[in-house]
């Protein structure tokens, strides 16, 4: 694998056999070749041989399933073969992205492993009537089994739909203490309580519900400790999924489940399962929240201040928390528990934040008739999941199947236009090439659709050219800003939120509705950046501020038809998405037609 020439080689020719579906033939050929080599002195030869063997075995399994099909060769894609009825969970070889928001946002289906995909039946199916049917079925199944002389635990594993329940044994008579209705298993009770599609799913569990949920969980955990390892794993996977899906309602249950399965030891691992990683981050946040609510906690005052709705008054520091504590709390929460920020009142956070940066300057400037405003944009303040794998570390020579290089190639053409290829990108912008390759590799691992992988690549390239555009100069900078206007307008057609997201981060999930000519411009621009080696990882360039002359403000007022206060708020990064979007576009438009002295400064803030 360290030898590029090996990638194209047929596994069969390396093994010295004809393509076959017989695993024993492959193993025999492998054994013969292995015995003939000295692995310690031919490390790469050994790696190639093993790779060939593994690939051949996979191909053989596919061939065994489809006897009439053509013999696949090594360069073809191996379908996501789920050969066994119960596929063993694959290893998570990729790191999950940062973890804000809800599980559904986090668990990008593309990044989801095979095993949990099978669990991700639409939660919407779980309305009450379906659940009632399932309960009745489960009860009947259990009765049958009992009559058949098989103990409850003897239900064959393969009949268990992990989403329905890991628990078919146990109590099927109504149990008031558990809150179980007749025929309902603890697993079903828990599923209902945590169902994210439920009417009251926006509220935390009530006291009674918490009690029921805790008891149901206990029953499930008891079963798990008694069960054998496959079953335990199944229960664990199911539970992790249910709890992740049911977040934040599942918050009070996390600690118990964590202790039973030792998730705490796993979630700090570099290859933790996504659901466990997600729950780990939530639980740490939940623990922090529990602690900070204690009056003697260092940030208790700061926390109470930030959760109060409304703006903070000018004398907020009198009797309130210290500015340094508020800053530290905000920094800490954003870094470690981003989801906790949703507890804070945005206006209040904004007034505390502006306290140390903008407020004084703004007051002075407003006093001047020039009607100048300071605009500050921190370009990387967007906490949305960062989809790239932008660590300085990267796997240059990760094993690439034919499919990977094929998708990378297609992505390059889609992002930079015809005539470009992967080697061109590797030559000019290796880190980007690397990121695309590793993203694709992950995508292929996770069985992501080819189109989605290419879209993702295009989005990534767009984000980089968007963010890096601010640092360009001369004619390229001009082009970047023209393009920016087009992109923002297109995003606005989608929604005000999309427009704001685009303007904050250059990142937009889903396609940007651009015309073919506009796409062509985008491609050409990105390709130029690559050739100038200017499409590297976007670096935070701190904050930019600029004085905006009254002339431009006037144009904005005119074109947006907004009130003066709204415009000023939007320029300060406040107000609704729609206002901010409209003002950003208007300012960009107005500045591009303008030739004042700080034109560039203004554009840099956009």
């Amino acid at each position: 694998m360290s030898d590029a020439s090996s990638q194209g080689r047929h596994p069969w020719s390396l093994l010295g056999i004809e393509p076959t579906a017989e695993a024993s033939v492959i193993r025999k050929a492998y054994a013969e070749r292995l015995k003939a080599m000295d692995v310690d002195n031919d490390v790469s030869g050994y790696a190639q041989l093993r790779q060939a063997r593994d690939l051949a075995l996979r191909l053989a399994r596919v061939m065994g399933e489809t006897p009439d099909s053509d013999v696949p060769n090594g360069t073809e894609d191996v379908p996501n073969a789920t050969e066994r009825p119960e596929p063993a969970p694959p290893r998570w070889t990729f790191a999950a992205p940062a973890l804000p928001g809800a599980w559904d946002e986090f668990a990008d289906p593309a990044a989801r492993p095979l095993a949990t995909q099978s669990l991700s039946t639409k939660p919407g199916e779980l309305d009450a009537s379906t659940m009632l049917e399932r309960m009745a079925w489960a009860a009947a199944a259990a009765r049958d089994t009992e009559q058949g002389g098989v103990t409850g635990a003897g239900i064959p594993l393969t009949t268990i739909d992990p989403f329905t329940a890991p628990l078919l044994s146990g109590s099927f008579v109504g149990d008031d203490a558990l809150g179980l209705r007749p025929g309902e298993t603890p697993a079903e009770r828990l599923t209902i309580l945590l169902d994210p599609e439920r009417d009251n799913s926006g509220e935390p569990l009530s006291e009674t519900e918490t009690r029921q949920a805790t008891r149901a969980l206990r029953a499930i955990l008891d079963e798990a400790t008694q069960a054998h390892v496959s079953r335990q794993q199944q229960i664990e996977d199911w539970l992790a999924e249910i709890l992740a899906r049911g977040w934040p309602r599942s918050a009070p249950l996390l600690e118990d489940a964590n202790q039973a399965f030792g998730w705490e030891r796993e979630w700090s691992a570099h290859d933790a399962r996504p659901a466990v990683q997600f729950l780990g981050a939530r639980l740490r946040g939940y623990r922090f929240q529990q602690n900070v609510l204690q009056p003697d906690h260092r940030f208790h005052k700061a926390w109470n201040e930030l959760v109060k709705p409304g703006k903070a008054g000018p004398f907020r520091m009198l009797g309130g928390p210290a500015q340094s504590d508020v800053d530290a709390l905000l920094r800490g929460v954003r870094k470690h528990f981003p989801e906790l920020e949703s507890h804070f009142a945005p206006e209040r956070v904004a007034s505390w934040e502006s306290g140390n940066r903008l407020l004084t300057g703004l007051l002075v400037l407003l006093g001047i008739l020039a009607f100048a405003i300071v605009v500050a944009i921190a370009d990387s303040s967007n906490p949305s999941p960062h989809p790239t794998h932008d660590a300085p570390a990267s796997e240059m020579q990760a094993p690439q199947s034919g499919e990977v290089s094929d998708v990378v190639q297609a992505s390059v053409v889609e992002a930079f236009g015809q005539g470009r290829d992967a080697s061109w990108l590797w030559k000019n912008q290796p880190d980007l090439a690397q990121t695309l390759t590793s993203n694709t590799l992950m995508g292929v691992h996770a069985g992501t659709d080819r189109g989605a992988m290419i879209d993702k690549a295009v989005t990534l390239v767009r984000m980089r050219s968007y963010l890096n555009g601010r640092k360009l100069s001369g004619e390229l900078f001009e082009t970047a800003m023209q393009l920016r206007l087009v992109q923002l307008q297109a995003a606005r057609e989608q929604s005000a939120h999309a427009c704001r997201q685009m303007s904050d981060s250059g990142w937009l999930d889903g396609a940007l509705p651009l015309s073919p000519e506009q796409r062509a411009k985008e491609r050409a621009f990105a390709a130029r950046l690559v050739e100038q080696h200017a499409l590297g990882m976007p670096k935070p360039d701190g904050q930019h501020s600029a004085m905006i002359p009254g002339e431009l403000i006037g144009k904005i007022l005119k074109s947006t038809k907004l009130g003066q206060n709204d415009v000023i708020a939007a320029l300060n990064g406040k107000g609704s998405d729609a206002h901010r979007c409209a003002v950003t576009i208007a300012l960009l438009e107005a500045t591009l037609d303008w030739t004042g002295s700080n034109r560039r400064d203004i554009l840099m803030t956009l």
Binding site: A47, T93, V229, Q434
Partner: protein, 568 residues
Amino acid sequence: MLIGIDLGTTNSAVAIWRDGAAGLVPNALGDLLTPSAVSIARDGRVWIGRAALDRLATHPEDTATSFKRRMGTAANAKLGGKEYGAEDLSALVLEALVKDVEALTGERPTEAVITVPAYFNDRQRKATRRAGELAGLSVRRLINEPTAAALAFGLQDKGDREAFLVFDLGGGTFDVSVVEMFEGIVEVRASAGDNRLGGDDFDDALAALMSPRIDPEGKLSALPAERREALLKRAAETCRRALSAASEAEFAVVIDETRLAATVSETEFEAACEPLLRRLREPVVRALRDCAIDAAELSDVVLVGGATRMPVVRRAITRLFGRFPNSSVHPDHAVALGAAIQAGLAGRDAALDEIRITDVCPFTLGIEVAERDGYGGLQRGLFSPIIERNTAVPVSRVNTYSTLSDNQKKLEFGIYQGEAREVRGNVKLGDMTVPVPPRAAGEISVEVRFSYDSSGLLEIDVHVPENGASRNLVIVDEEDRPDRKELDQRRAALARLKHHPREEALHVALMARAERCYEDHIGDLRQMIGHWITQFAGALDSQDPRRITDARTMLATRLDEIESVGPL
């Protein structure tokens, strides 16, 4: 000659590959297992094995056991007034084993294959290798214990086997390996483990459960720590053994003229072990997940390691896998036999011509990196894996890294092993600094290559394409790397110890045992044992071989009688 050694926490054993088969070598007492215990008196006399174990009762301050658990750490034990590290003590055990082979074959072995727990980290492996060198052995290869056991199990009939799982719970370490065998290839698919879990922990749990019960007045806590621990350890071990045969057993310690005892039931013991039994699950799950094999597909669960004899452990295993485990290999012998087979392989023995073994690296190896987070801050101390765990070895992998700040002049690599996302959760193996030409951030990239060989030796190459500079490092642990001179000094210190002549081994061991029995009993019985000891000592003084043999036989018979009455 090349020998195979199982250097265990509780017991060690040596085996040789001869005439197309692996065979264990008996020690001077005729036993196939030598307890991993060392006792050193102030005058430099040294006891190894069973005699040393008996001296744990009489001379706890001079005796060390379970030192394998401190392998690869700087912790020392003080015996006979001098400090000895785990490597030194292990070297003494290894030396005793070497002498046993010499006594059997008339040839002193110079090379060895030594087994280590699969989940031993790089430091622990290096320490084991050094112990071998201190004992005058050149260590040809370190082989993972479950892999050795799998070899012994797999070669029983040389047929193909579907994936099976080796469950190796020893005195101090726990390993799980999933192994497959086909066409003469023994292939380890994945290993996982816990290098801090073993039979000793069950003893500790039992001692923690029982010591408040037998000792409400706190007599034990008044004793010196070494003596208290030795007493509890022995009481727990005896009691645990008894619990394997009966549903109740007595837990008893004798302090001078007082005997403290209480009865414990198996159920109570099992409850006390619950947290330990739960820790057995995780490595099993991880090994199976890593090789994508479902527990139901396993053809066998093979038990290895003395602690798998405990009924509580067996029940836990049966529950874990939903089936009865396979105990067709001897749990204490399989690892040493496997080591001898590996020795035969390494020596290219013709009888093993058609056998090959492939193993994996059970942990992830990588370097420390920093990266920018979403708010522009610098996150340091992140772990970037280069060799993922359970990759087949030997293996060589390369990753590329780049500079993070403008005009950066050097790159510092902390080299780590482990599974945590942040390096502070991992084991540090070393450091390396590479100067780079100053450029803008990200412009300089360096290639870091990790090569991991079949014995678990890691080598690192760093290459800077920009200026062609290269650095190479064979990883040695930083703080406890002894230089040549220090090694020689330690070897000399060990050589100054006075070993008992081999022909006296039986007397020496019997005397230690008699003294231990003296400690274990009170009242008339104790006086009687004291009397026998005096008689035996008199016989030894006479130097009359016949009288000595008679006295020895008599004393041994009497001690057997006393000890067969009941525990303690």
